[in-house]
Symmetry: C2
Subunit: 202 residues, 2 copies
DNA sequence: TAAGTTAGCGTACAGTTGTAAGCTGAGATT
DNA sequence: AATCTCAGCTTACAACTGTACGCTAACTTA
């Protein structure tokens, strides 16, 4: 194995090690450089060969999480295109994502309101991208005004994330209840936004 | 000063000291017993005369925050009763609360997705109370079905809290934009819920 | 092949943490 | 007045933290 390959592999070990430590009772600010190094199987001081400090690792993790989020949206679109209701399919896809990438979603959720301004902003940007993409989608599909579509998309994403947070700690049955509820809420918003459009047009 | 009075005063010093440490970059899990004791002006070991450990203090703080939240709702109702739009007045009152009790709201927000299951549940309960009271209010005012009013109230509270989180880091101008946006979103939901009722009745 | 680069290691240090043990002095009780 | 209670103190310790320093061994380049 070449030197560069080995370095990349170790770097990935650090990232994976960090994610494995981010369970339900540890945030980025609560995991130490030494713990991460231990999980990655290297000496504490070797950590510095890959990251300047823990903050740099944290931002890398947020980036990776954002990447997973964008892949999720692509998957939802594929499913909708091959014949599924927009709201139902989107919520179900999101809930599957949470179940399968628990620590990734938890990272976003936690650091969104966490103690590091840099992390908060990084997560905020990822969510804004998500909202913008949804806004575009709504504008295309329903030919509505951009500003209203944006307010609608914003509300939808916030509700789905909030429901996701609740689902994170729920069992299978409660999760379907949460999913059903958020679907109703998204329909309310869709109806309300449509009604607002009609009012404005008249 | 009697011994009991003195003890209560010290206890309050500990609570106030803890709140003062909970600024934008410290969560409950990130403040130490020694720091709190320092802020309260007592020796670290004297802390134990008042609380079993930091967890007990944390739950006390969440309780206090929940209390403030209920007072907020009462204030909003009073304002609405003396002639104000429901959504506009509620959101404005909430935003004023956040501006005036920043650290209190931040505590709720942060621990809602924090690293302690006990805190998460405690905050969850406070928010549920909030939602239930709003559900009752909607049921009374609009004579709608409880289950629908509950879904509506749930969405409204989640959106307002989410907007509050964003407002926490925004300047005055951005705050009014956030307030306007969330007001629109709440109207969408109200319209959508009403439309759903009509559909169900037909 | 010789020289240069560098990923990873071991040791070390000062700072922080929670909390155990036992003392003091002042308010409370009798 | 004598005794009891207890809020707060000082001291002490083991565990953990980030990171500075210098070494080694293996890969890379000339």
């Amino acid at each position: 194995m070449s030197r560069q390959e080995q370095k990349l592999k170790t770097r990935q070990n650090i990232i994976n090690g960090a994610f494995s430590l981010l369970d339900e009772n540890r945030s980025l600010s609560a995991i130490s450089l030494r713990e991460v190094s231990r999980a990655a199987g290297i000496a504490p001081t070797s950590f510095y060969r890959h990251f300047k400090d823990m903050d740099e690792l944290g931002l890398t993790l947020v980036d990776e999480a954002g990447l997973a989020l964008r892949q999720l949206m692509r998957q939802a679109r594929r499913r909708i295109a091959s014949g599924g209701s927009v709201i139902g399919t989107s919520v179900d896809t999101f809930m599957e994502f949470i179940a399968g990438n628990t620590n990734v979603f938890r990272l976003l959720l936690r650091e969104h309101t966490g103690t590091s301004a840099a992390y908060r902003m990084a997560v905020f940007r990822e969510i804004q991208h998500f909202i913008e993409e949804l806004t575009d989608y709504i504008t295309e599909q329903l030919q509505v005004e951009y500003s209203i579509a944006n307010i609608q998309a914003d509300a939808m994403v916030r509700l789905v994330f909030s429901a996701g947070a609740e689902a994170l700690e729920a069992d299978a049955q409660l999760r379907t209840e949460i999913a059903d509820r958020v679907k109703s809420q998204l329909r309310f918003i869709q109806l309300g936004a449509a009604a607002t459009l009609l009012t404005a047009a008249s």
